[in-house]
Symmetry: C2
Subunit: 205 residues, 2 copies
């Protein structure tokens, strides 16, 4: 069902629909209208219906969506129905916060190794992981068949790290450095930039 033609922005909204549905399912809610789900996510009911229509027919006219059914369908679409092993590059304050967040949250994304180029950080413990040198990257990615990485490194190091990750076979990267990464087709990057988000807020102020 998923198609190459789905706009990026639609794909980026799906996780928020999923989060809303998970919240409702946990509360025991069985059915939700596109109106109510839209209010929860902050988009219009029409937008939700249009976004979901790229992937099939999920609701019944006038009856809304079955919460757990739509939740499970979105998990399938986002490949969030399985566990993912990922590595973290960058063992600074941000990297440390991310390890805590991912371990504590019991998400389906599991950090299995942490790397840093700074020898002073090698061997440092982060939860039940020990920071490894970059020279171990390739071996770990291959041995553990890693597809995903989080980059929590400075901007001037990020492209080199991305190149290393691509060479090792990593196909998805979540980048916290305020720089756009150049990666070959077939490698997917998302970026988290708090400054850009703050500017998107101050536009309105």
């Amino acid at each position: 069902m998923p198609s190459q033609d789905v706009p990026q922005i639609v794909i980026e909204r799906l996780p928020f629909y999923l989060r809303g549905l998970e919240h409702m399912a946990n509360r025991g809610q069985r059915v939700v209208s596109s109106q109510t789900l839209g209010e929860w996510v902050g988009v219009s009911a029409a937008q939700i219906r249009k976004d979901l229509s790229y992937f099939g027919e999920f609701g019944k006219q006038g009856l809304g969506y079955e919460v757990t059914y739509l939740r499970d369908q979105l998990r399938l679409i986002l490949h969030a129905d399985r566990d993912w092993r990922l590595i973290l590059v960058g063992a600074g304050a941000l990297g440390s916060a991310l390890v805590n967040y991912l371990v504590a949250g019991q998400w389906q994304y599991h950090i299995v190794a942490v790397f840093d180029s700074d020898p002073a950080k090698h061997g440092k413990r982060m939860r039940d992981l020990y920071v490894q040198p970059m020279s171990e990257l390739e071996g770990v990615v291959e041995a553990q068949d890693i597809d995903l990485a989080i980059l929590a490194v400075p901007a001037d190091a990020a492209q080199q790290v991305a190149d290393d990750l691509v060479r090792c076979g990593v196909r998805g990267m979540l980048n916290y450095a305020p720089i756009r990464l150049n990666v070959p087709q077939g490698v997917h990057c998302a970026e988290i930039d708090p400054i850009a988000r703050l500017q998107g807020i101050t536009y309105f102020l």
Copy 2:
């Protein structure tokens, strides 16, 4: 020039155009085509032209954009031409990483106070700030005329913190908790959720 009718997604792309232009200006580049800027940002040339057309005429047909001129215009549009004081709520590992990032980066967003509900954190030093109890929030926001806050608190605390911030007069929030905040009209929230971004990547894998 900025209008209420500009789609949210357009506003969210502007900071990335700005970041590209700042990068080019720092390298001494004087003119850029929408094609080249688009490649830098990862959108099409047509998208850039359409997005910018909401705000005026910035380029000359066939000549492209003057880098510093467009940079300065985008700064004006995003209100990124002035300094902003902001507060941070949540002095855990993430909060600590954010303070480091914002201080080190010399952005125009300046954290002037840090708050936490945990008495064990009160008085803890973060760069040149000391963590304060939530009871000090209102006084600080009023005394320093704060418009912006970053929430780096757990999901189950975020709505209460947002309510407190709204009551104190904060009009913009960057929320790191994986929950959608309910705020009154006129208060603007942006959200950073690494799990949602990872799901947006694994869709493609």
